[in-house]
Symmetry: C3
Subunit: 137 residues, 3 copies
């Protein structure tokens, strides 16, 4: 059918290869889903993934940059995001994460996304993970 | 374009201001996303957010009321909800939460939403958090 | 209205009854949401739900089979899945889960779904839970 929706993988050149058979992002019709991103620096061939730094600020900003790269590669903007899921490892990081989050989104030109923040375990050294659901159009 | 989808923030008057730049709910087209809700009582100006009570029952019912307020403000009903994500802090709360959940949804007139329940950390004093994805139409 | 979307519960015959008033899956329009699945074997009348086995491999394969049964009952394939949320209880299970995941999805004919993996608590004996969001069409 001519109106069959295509599902497309979104793989920014800067991203490290996923550690398993999943996509950093997928788009189908006007739905774009971003996989859980962490604070890994842009990929360097031959190097294993490296976090932007040990601090919550460094990792949060890099994680948001990684989400944004996938959104843009898929034709979306932050303004298209409906939901951000924020996974922290430490309840005491909530206030600082919110500060960074507010600075980061200060210039948003539409209603901000909904958000859920919960506290989970993450691999050693990682303090934050974020995924996103966007609706384009 | 006349058919461009608008993203709208959903902010019930009863709700405390979000602690960061996110929306309690957003709607775009026929998709409505409710942010993670906890058992905070309706906002009182000048007071910080206060849970409905210390018990799982009090917090669960208030949390569901908070989700419902956002759904209704966005033009949706419980029947439009596709997915509820329930975050508990204690595995031993599962059975009691299910009892409360079943009472609460006893009168649902359509297929109930799908649901995922997992056990995470939440800020001190909070026992449950719930978010929701609805499809209207 | 003739174009009103219907919400339909998806309940494979093999599945144990949900422990509360939720659906194993729901479909509305071209959106299909699969509830959190664990590694329970196909239901046997009169028996309580039983995990496929104690190992991560047994539970992961059964969990994926349970997700797949709901997708298929709802008219979807793995290729339609946009997002898989994987909940593990142990960070040390990540590498092995990825191996199993890659074997399982080796024959996927389209872009794989996005994925988020986080580490949470689950009821005793359960090592993995997975839910899924699919867009058909």
């Amino acid at each position: 059918m001519s109106d069959k929706l295509q599902k497309t993988a979104i793989t920014p050149a800067t991203h490290t290869a996923p550690p398993a058979k999943f996509s950093h992002g997928v788009r189908k019709g006007n739905i774009l889903q971003v996989a859980g991103q962490v604070g890994f620096l842009p990929a360097v061939p031959g190097q294993s993934p490296t976090p932007a730094g040990p601090t919550l600020r460094e990792q949060t900003l890099q994680t948001l940059a990684n989400v944004k790269a996938i959104l843009e590669e898929g034709g979306a903007r932050w303004e298209d995001v409906m939901m951000l899921r924020v996974y922290l490892t430490d309840v005491d990081h909530f206030a600082e994460m919110n500060e960074i989050y507010n600075e980061y989104f200060a210039d948003l030109t539409e209603a901000p996304a909904a958000r859920t923040t919960v506290y989970v375990g993450l691999p050693a050294g990682l303090l934050i993970e974020i995924d996103a659901l966007a609706v384009l159009g």
